[in-house]
Symmetry: C2
Subunit: 322 residues, 2 copies
């Protein structure tokens, strides 16, 4: 059987030159921070049977585990630099490791983000990635930067990942073509790194976060941190192409409280609409204006006619939301 | 039931002011690196039933999970700065969380190392910590810095953690007093941070690592990285107080290939013995000279009389060593 060290060397140590002063193979990795920049750090743990299906395709899993971490850097406006990978595996399956590392490195290379260290052990299938980025002081997109009068924006589309999950779970009868359309949004999320960086260099402070637990639950973090409220135009929410063909009630539910979207929700002064659209254009990422930050606390949902909607939706919560 | 976010706030968010520009509660933490310093990074994942017993005391577990990470910083000679914690829990038990966080923060405070971010989810009990430190360029204690003629040194004592494990596993009949003496070395390892930092500021480059998988297996990493061999004086190895009362064969086996010691193994030029002892004295950490780095590849074990020993020992390996 392969030893732990053989595994690490073979699949995760790369000939490709990286940025690290010292990479995998010592007690620590060594990075040389760019002078004057701050370090952004985030960590996410994904567990088989909870965050992904047992037997999940390892190539897509490698992509997704890194993508959800890069999405946190995107939500701060930081440039990805490197990451560590702690991996618990039931066994040392070369095919699985080959595919998992290929999926992970393909996304890492796209963002010039280097694997600098790791830990491998036997156990349940658990993937824990910690990601590092850089951002200029004062430019981070913080949750406490939303102000009354700001527009609320969403990148890309919402709800297709949740629709795919509903199909797998058989919550709804989903046509195979619809599932095939929605599934990539669940398995292969796109971290909005370019958009986050483009927003971070705009002159005004913006609030942002990435939507992982559902828009309403995540937006509440911005409202709490910024001590403001919001009005959301529910029918303005950008709907994923698969979900767009579903009934209105389902569209509303899955865009508002779907989860696993990994789109950015951000705020910006109403006077900056052109600058926001230009930043999004430069990043190649569509953005949609979906509401307004209010001085009045709480979240108000309105329909296309501006009529108040009363809906029982809430964010996905890993402890409370089961 | 407590929500994920309540949990994090209550047990892991602290009123105490930290170093981070932005700590727990946003998509990323933000750290401002000290100008001119490099960042040292390490990650370790600990799994119930594999790295610690099911039902382990949560206060000691909180200590140990951080200690094994700080030990990696110590082995590089880095100053601890901060860490992230990803925690998977079968349930939200307030008593467990209270004790775990208390044990973790007590050690963190001792080393002025701040919890800057985290992730909490439901699942098997898994703890993944990623730790960050700082070190001046060129001063890291790297595995590839051992040179023929260097002395090999060990901090503290070896083998008591492995002896405790043998007692728990009933591999040997261990007196309750002996187990009581050995057990703290297994449950509450001491990361040798002060020693590592004192060695890192000495003028000559030294090789170092922390002994987590057993001396022989870990020393092999220094020998491989530095392309050298070594001769170890087996009977010079510093034996833990509980193991010291055991038969010679067991003493040799558990000092050479015990594991879970979290002592430093380091090399230094023979001309620097006084400087090494002064550095160890300043760190309040005993050190013992146990052998020599050779130009000839391979590891040679000798007894107190200098006679070659043939022993079948090997490092603990999480995949191959079961």
């Amino acid at each position: 059987m392969l030893s732990e060290f053989d595994l690490i060397k073979h699949y995760f140590r790369r000939a490709r030159a990286g940025h690290a002063v010292l990479g995998i193979g010592d007690d620590c990795a060594l990075l040389a921070p760019t002078p004057g920049m701050q370090t952004a750090i985030s960590t996410d743990m994904l567990i088989e049977g909870r965050h992904f299906f047992a037997g999940a395709d390892p190539r897509m899993l490698g992509h997704k585990c890194l993508a959800v971490n890069l999405s946190d850097l995107a939500a701060m406006g930081a440039r990805p630099v490197g990451f560590t990978l702690a991996l618990s595996l039931p066994g040392a399956d070369p095919d699985w490791l080959e595919a998992f590392s290929a999926g992970m490195f393909a996304l890492a290379d796209l963002h010039d983000c280097e694997l600098v260290g790791g830990d491998t052990t036997r156990g349940p299938l658990v993937v824990c990635i910690t990601v590092f980025g850089e951002i200029a002081p004062g430019h981070a997109l913080r949750r406490d930067a939303a102000r009354a009068g700001h527009d609320i924006w969403i990148s890309g589309t919402l709800g297709d990942a949740r629709l795919a999950l509903a199909g797998y779970w058989k919550e709804i009868a989903l046509q195979p073509e619809a599932l095939a359309l929605a599934a990539p949004r669940m398995h292969l999320p796109t971290p909005r790194v370019a958009l986050g960086r483009a927003l971070a260099v705009l002159p005004t402070a913006h609030a942002a976060l990435d939507i992982s637990d559902g828009l309403i639950g995540d937006l509440a973090h911005i409202l709490d941190a910024s001590k403001v409220g919001a009005t959301l135009d529910v029918d303005a929410l950008p709907v994923g192409p698969a979900l767009a063909r579903q009934p209105l009630a389902l569209r509303r539910r899955f865009t508002l409280a779907g989860g696993d979207d990994y789109e950015l929700c951000f705020t910006a002064p109403a006077g900056e609409r052109a600058a926001v659209l230009a930043a999004a254009g430069s990043a190649g990422t569509p953005v949609t204006r979906v509401g307004t930050i209010d001085a009045q606390p709480g979240l108000r949902l309105v329909d296309a006619a501006g009529q108040a909607l009363a809906m029982d939706v809430r964010g996905w919560d890993h402890f409370g939301g089961e």
